[in-house]
């Protein structure tokens, strides 16, 4: 039962993050996702300190706001202060992450997060944090409900606003021309990325979440050209990663989130080899069919 809950949690994180990540990958904004995931750390610590670990909703809102603020700062530094794009990202998120780590060591006793949790989360402890009704019935781990709710929000967001999301990703100029605000959808997407990062923080930590955001969508991007299929493949790959990652971790008795990242790497490598082999074969085919034709004309 414990392993079921852990795999379910991992799969929920991978699917929610992956679905959003598809749009990050298409917009070439993977590193902004990376920045947000690092930068929510001080938000989480401050929210923990203020709310005293009692209200998940306060923490969620407080910390996600900081994720959005990060996007604002990066945009501001890049557009207004003329800092070059990559440096703006690098300077901003390392600063916020450093502040987060400092706050953690300052209030080590008062905040229920340690440095290991920041690095790779504690998905193995997820089943302990159960939701028990007033009558004493065990409903399963609390994070699963939170992540499940988030997944529903993300899936309906993508289904309802599919047109806006895909247009702003593929052709921002056209989207603006027909009256879709690219800025609004940019910040809505980034807001959801921040929320996902915060909700997943306990399970996979601040650094490895980027693996779930960018890994499965990139693999799907390798093997398909259609956005709809990319989203579906992302879901399947996310579930596979959660399942195999946990199996490996349980076998070797190591970090579950770390193993999920390694599994992503293995799947990516396999797909990469497969697609480049395929495209090489195709090139060969073209050459083979062209030679006799040219021979005839001569």
């Amino acid at each position: 039962m414990i392993s079921f809950w852990i795999i379910l949690t991992g799969a929920l994180v991978a699917v929610s993050a992956g679905l959003l990540g598809c749009f990050l990958v298409l917009r070439r904004m993977s590193m902004v996702g990376d920045a947000i995931s690092h930068a929510v750390l001080p938000g989480i610590v401050i929210a923990f300190l203020i709310s005293g670990n009692r209200e998940p909703l306060t923490i969620l809102i407080g910390a996600s706001t900081l994720g959005l603020v990060t996007t604002f700062i990066i945009e501001y530094l890049h557009k207004k202060a003329k800092v070059q794009g990559d440096a703006a990202i690098g300077v901003t998120y390392t600063f916020l992450f450093a502040v987060g780590v400092i706050l953690l060591s300052l209030f080590a006793g008062q905040v229920d997060i340690d440095q290991d949790c920041v690095l790779y989360g504690e998905i193995a402890y997820v089943p302990i944090d159960t939701l028990i009704t007033a009558s004493g019935m065990n409903l399963g781990p609390r994070p699963v409900y939170l992540l499940g709710g988030l997944l529903i929000v993300i899936v309906s967001f993508i289904i309802f606003f599919y047109k806006q999301l895909s247009l702003t990703a593929f052709d921002p100029g056209f989207a603006t021309a027909i009256g879709i605000s690219t800025v609004l959808w940019h910040y809505l997407l980034m807001g959801l990325v921040s929320i996902t990062t915060v909700v997943s923080f306990q399970s996979v930590g601040a650094i490895l979440i980027i693996n779930f955001l960018i890994g499965p969508p990139s693999i799907a991007y390798l093997i398909t050209r259609s956005l709809k299929r990319m989203l579906i493949y992302t879901v399947i790959i996310g579930i596979l990663i959660a399942f195999f990652g946990y199996q490996i971790a349980a076998y070797f008795d190591v970090s579950v989130a770390g193993c999920m990242a390694v599994t992503t790497g293995i799947i990516f490598a396999a797909c990469f080899v497969y697609t480049s082999y395929n495209s090489k074969m195709k090139k060969k085919d073209i050459v083979m069919t062209q030679i006799p034709q040219s021979a005839e004309t001569v």
Binding site: A81, G85, A98, I210
Partner: protein
Amino acid sequence: MQAVIDFFSFSDPNIRYVVLGSMLLAASSAIVGVFIVLKKKALIGDAVSHSVLPGICAAFLFAGNKNIPLMIIGAFISGWLAIVIIDFITRNSKIKKDAAISIILTVFFGLGVVMLTHIQHSGYASQSGLESFIFGNAAALIGNDVIVFSIIAIILVITVITFFKEFELTAFDEPYAKTLGLPVSRLELLLTTLTVLAVVTGITAVGVVLMAAMLITPAAAARFWSDNIRKIVIISACFGAFSGLAGAFISYMAPAMPTGPWMVVASSFIAFFSFFFAPKRGSVFLWWNKRQHLKTTDEENILKIFYQLGEPSGYFEGEYSVSKLMEKRTVGQDRFKSALNRLKGQNLIERVGEDWLLTKKGMKESARIVRLHRLWELYLTKYMQMPAHKVHENAEMIEHVLTPELEKELEIQLGFPDRDPHESVIPRI
């Protein structure tokens, strides 16, 4: 207070080690960082710093204890491998660079975490030292380690000095460097190697997670203070060394504090200060410049109104009310009135009762602006082949920035003209 004196007197050899070590490594990575930032590869630094973790852990597993030289080799190999793989993926598939960086970074870091948890769970006796590699602990810099890291830092600095010209050229103009016959791809490889080395030197003091900041933050800040690459390198090194000192000082005062984050916070403050307040490039400076430009534009536009009102009769000493003047302009009343007052302060106009008129100096100035406007209009029609009815708007902007030298040049190019494209007289002063 006693602690501060102890720290800055450097009487304790341990403090000397820690301070010298942190400053040296921070300065050397800041120097390499300049070229990384100029080549717009800041995020590569991020990838490398996360990717050295599995190498460190592998070295630990291999040696069974904290063997610094072995760990440096391990970190070097895994960091270097990560860059090579990222490059390979971007060149051989449709995956974009940013996604490739993110994937490799997390897969390597994940592998490192797996090994780290393996080490923790198998209960090695001396595993405690491994923790300091993640967020850094300058206090862990002792004796021989400092010497090892210092040697690497010195190698870094010497290599950069030796290949300075080559790096400078490839950073600014790669195609030109290629035509000169420079081995661009080998230089690229050398810079990659230096990046990995810089990260490796920093891992004990700063930690793998935040080492990227020590590469790029001082360099990004230094970029705002100069356009000269030599100066940028020196400024960047100073910023780096200062943050190293600050980090070492704080972790001496509060030993429980990890050094890396404090170094990063110190250099981030320098960076944010530079982004806002650096002369010429900082945003406060730019904002002030823009404001001043708007003010002179307003003033010069008012002077032009006086000229235009007087032109039909040829009498430029006429007195006009504010409302009469404002008929010609669309700026708000407050802005208009404060511009009038500034002009009065410069003795360009005078006030008579409710009306305003040009002084002698003002007449000259107003004629000068109209003259620039019309010269530019003529230039646009003659040399840019623009139709006469389209040149006015552009001239409205350019008239405020033309210098006396350009004015002379325009006159020569146009053959000392009398009339503009609209057949209005170009005033002479």
